[in-house]
């Protein structure tokens, strides 16, 4: 039975109270969408994520900022349960990750430049497969709706490999929205998009958040995007949280007009306004 349970649950034993016949441990509302406590990830000698803690409220858009190697992708991967933490804990929509991830995976989705959609399959075929994996009802209508919303209609029956980078990003976003997730994790959602399309995607994400009260966590290097979209910004550097507040409050703290200037201050180790030396 133990082995069977492991097979069914990704190698993790289900925690008590979440087995067959019990109510799901993941709640439907109330608690934070994401609750990260003292999270650490060490790869051999590298401390990729170093004791970070944060809670993300439901219905909010939070930006995860930081230079290359700051630990953003590793943090998102641990939230998704694709990377196991060295220590600390993650809870998503009330479910412990990774132990209870199958309780909530159907309510989450993600998009990342580290993964692709199968190239030889058409956009419609790809969306059909992911729709079925997420058990989406009325799938054909849902795909048509996404095609209209994200302007995919003209290439819905074209192979993914024959699309431009911008079109592929839109398809990846359609896949990320196929199950109308309560929690959306996005890594560089507007990378490779021209400014007009990028702006249009941001608008779509904002509307989606409002209409579905969805929580969005996005990692981005596009500071304007983060300023415009996010209620809150978490700045990471060398695996640690360097700052965590609303974009306005952070800019005020660094006495800067844009997040880009703040980002450069953090990246280059310049102290924020009034902060004593030696403090982050």
């Amino acid at each position: 039975m133990r082995l069977l349970s492991q097979w069914l649950n990704d190698g993790h034993m289900q925690q008590s109270g979440t087995g067959q016949g019990h109510a799901p441990a993941a709640d439907q509302g109330g608690s934070a969408a994401i609750d990260v406590a003292h999270l650490v990830k060490v790869y051999k000698a590298t401390r990729a994520v170093d004791d970070i803690s944060f809670r993300i409220a439901r219905g909010s858009i939070t930006g995860l900022l930081g230079g290359n190697g700051a630990g953003k992708t590793t943090t998102i991967a641990m939230i998704m349960g694709l990377v196991l933490p060295t220590s600390g804990s993650v809870a998503v929509l009330g479910a412990k990750i990774p132990e209870q991830r199958y309780e909530v995976l159907g309510r989450m989705n993600f998009e990342s430049p580290y993964v692709d959609m199968p190239m030889r399959l058409t956009v419609r075929q790809n969306l059909t497969i992911f729709g079925r994996l997420y058990a989406v009802k009325h799938l054909r209508e849902r795909i048509d709706q996404l095609a209209a919303d994200l302007d995919l209609k003209e290439f819905l029956d074209r192979s993914n490999g024959k699309l431009s980078a911008g079109q592929k990003t839109r398809v990846a976003l359609a896949k990320a929205l196929i199950n109308e997730p309560d929690l959306l994790l996005l890594d560089e959602p507007t990378a490779s998009l021209d400014p007009d399309t990028a702006d249009w995607v941001r608008q779509h994400l904002e509307t989606y958040r409002k209409t579905h009260n969805a929580t969005i966590l996005l990692a981005s290097h596009n500071m304007l995007e983060v300023e415009r979209l996010c209620d809150r910004v978490i700045i990471m550097k060398r695996g640690k949280i360097e700052d965590d507040d609303s974009p306005e409050a952070i800019m005020a703290r660094y006495n800067r007009d844009t997040l880009e200037e703040v980002f450069l201050d953090v990246a280059r180790g310049r102290l924020r306004e009034g902060a004593p030396e030696g403090t982050p």
């Binding site: 082995l3 097979w7 995976l105 959609m117 058990a135 989406v136």
Partner: protein, 274 residues
């Protein structure tokens, strides 16, 4: 939960397995070279070995008596080898497409993923081996299906072994990235000399015979020779093969899960490269 999503069962979901099979079916149908390759190598194998069998039958009284042992062995070996390849190539398609992260983040469970790969291995095997058996009948008068019910026992044992090896090889690629891809293509060949495909187990040195008898295919090929040469179906051999297969099957799943956990620990799931 969003209203557009149906209630999802806690156990194994046939819908998700079906979605994955559909994914590989779309892929197969989108590429004629993939389809051609499935038929090409088995056809080449059977024609080469069939003519060899014809030749040595003329020169050797034993092979004239034991008609079809070589052709039968070639077909059964192909079931073993192509069964594993059919499983592993579908898995590799996900690595090549960098799609594993999408799948691992979806509600698809590892057991469902593996079951879909098993179904695909059967489909790919059918596309390759059925024409092969027809060629054997047409060119060499060897009716593979005349083996009758024992064929089911042979097939089941070989396919279980091929899946076990496929699960194990896929786990290694999952853990180590595409740098370990060659394992998929070569692992089954390590079994080949010890499985005694073309010769009886007695040919091996005594100590190696003990090793050979730990492999389920050895029982199948011995069983095949017993059937084609002595016209005796050895149910005891099939029962042994099935018992060892059960152990291998469970062990390969356990190893796969351990390697998946290890991949999650070292962060290779999203990387997927070399």
């Amino acid at each position: 939960m969003s209203e557009i999503v149906s209630h999802q069962p806690r156990g194994i979901s046939l819908q998700r397995i079906n979605a994955m099979v559909l994914r590989y079916w779309y892929l197969l149908m989108s590429s004629w070279p993939r389809l051609l390759e499935l038929v090409y190598w088995p056809a080449l194998q059977i024609i080469t070995w069939g003519f060899l069998q014809n030749y040595i039958s003329q020169a050797s009284g034993f092979f004239a008596r034991a008609g079809g042992t070589l052709i039968g062995a070639v077909i059964l070996w192909d079931i073993l080898f192509r069964g594993q390849l059919g499983f592993s190539i579908s898995f590799l398609e996900e690595m090549w497409a960098r799609n594993l992260g999408n799948l691992m983040m979806s509600p698809l469970k590892p057991i469902e993923f593996l079951l879909s790969l098993m179904i695909m291995s059967l489909i790919r095997l059918a596309i390759g081996v059925i024409p092969m058996t027809l060629l054997a009948l047409f060119f060499f008068g060897f009716n593979f299906y005349a083996i009758g019910l024992p064929l089911i026992a042979f097939f089941c044992n070989l396919i279980f072994t091929s899946w076990s090896v496929g699960v194990f090889a896929s786990g290694l690629v999952l853990r180590n990235g595409l740098g370990a891809e060659s394992i998929v293509w070569t692992l089954m060949f390590a079994v080949m000399p010890l499985a005694c495909i073309y010769y009886p187990v007695e040919v091996l040195p005594t100590w190696l015979q003990y090793v050979a008898w730990t492999l389920p295919p050895t029982y199948v090929f011995e069983g095949m020779r017993s059937l084609l040469i002595d016209h005796v179906f050895r149910a005891d051999l099939m029962a042994w093969a099935l018992a060892i297969n059960a152990i291998l099957f469970v062990a390969s799943f356990a190893v796969f899960l351990a390697l998946l956990q290890s991949a999650k620990r070292n962060g290779s799931l999203l990387a997927g490269g070399e």
